[in-house]
Amino acid sequence: MSTSIRKKTKSAFDQMAEKAGPLPTAVLAQTYLERPISTQAEGVARALLGELSADDDDRRARLARAVEQLVVADRKMHEAAPSAKRRSHG
């Protein structure tokens, strides 16, 4: 059994957190933006169109939701970095 007591004094990291204030996101850095999700959404949308002829309401609903989620994620990503259009190297 440990007899020592962990220090309770305020750490420099605590002070930094107070100074920086609340963070808007848990994603601290994202050096490379991913391929625009709208591209992926387009692919999913095409798949959805292919499915529309199928008599399967549940599947159509699920695909529609997936497309919607992708579009929302895409919008959020580009709101965060409105000029981001491509990957780079370096």
């Binding site: 440990s2 020592s4 962990r6 220090k7 750490s11 420099a12 990291f13 605590d14 002070q15 930094m16 957190a17 100074k19 920086a20 204030g21 609340p22 963070l23 808007p24 996101t25 848990a26 994603v27 601290l28 850095a29 994202q30 050096t31 490379y32 933006l33 991913e34 999700i37 994620a73 895409d74 959020k76 990503m77 965060a80 970095a81 409105p82 000029s83 981001a84 259009k85 491509r86 990957r87 780079s88 190297h89 370096g90």
Partner: protein
């Protein structure tokens, strides 16, 4: 960056380890607020990056991950550690844990003899990185293809300062108990 000695922060102990794709899968199902911009799979990031690290909280599993797809990159000023993706588990937001993770990244960069760390982030995180000692600038030779993103550079002196603060958190209790 010690792998065996844990870091004590608050009432918890943390260990830094190389991340596996299984750890990445755990992070992929973290519950995130809708406002978070997160569009990648950690499992894939871990798989394809030169290096990926995780901060494990004793009995609580992964609480932060970071990757560097290339490790060191050579720029005009010298070799920099390129930080690509980093995320703190959303329910750990608001403490100084993010700064501890940043300090561990500084430790890793120094371990690789980098003269600095470079990264990009959304502008809303400016205060976080400036508070940690980062400079909102792009080192010469580094492309910035995303004008909406903010580039940050951490010079070597800042890395050493962050490492010194992290070292203060090294928990020696376990070692003492083993003696």
């Amino acid at each position: 960056m010690p792998r065996d000695t844990p870091y004590g922060y608050g009432d918890q102990l943390y260990r830094v380890e190389e991340a596996s794709t299984d750890i990445g899968r755990e992070a992929d199902v973290w519950v995130r607020p809708e406002s978070d911009v997160h569009s990648w799979s950690w499992a894939k990031k871990v798989h394809r990056s030169r290096e990926a690290w995780v901060l494990m909280e004793d009995s609580q599993g992964p609480v932060a991950l970071w990757t560097s797809e290339k490790g060191l990159i050579t720029l005009v000023e010298g070799q920099f550690y390129r930080l690509d993706h980093i995320e703190l588990r959303p329910d750990r937001r608001g403490s100084g844990l993010g700064f501890l993770v940043l300090a561990l990244i500084a430790c890793r960069a120094l371990e690789l003899n980098a003269i600095g760390v470079v990264l990009r982030c959304i502008p809303a995180l400016r205060a976080f990185y400036e508070t940690a000692g980062g400079e909102a600038r792009t080192p010469k030779g580094w492309n910035v293809p995303y004008p909406g993103m903010l580039a940050f550079t951490f010079p070597e002196a800042v890395l050493r300062s962050l490492k010194a603060t992290a070292d203060e958190h090294l928990d020696q209790e376990e070692d003492q108990e083993r003696v």
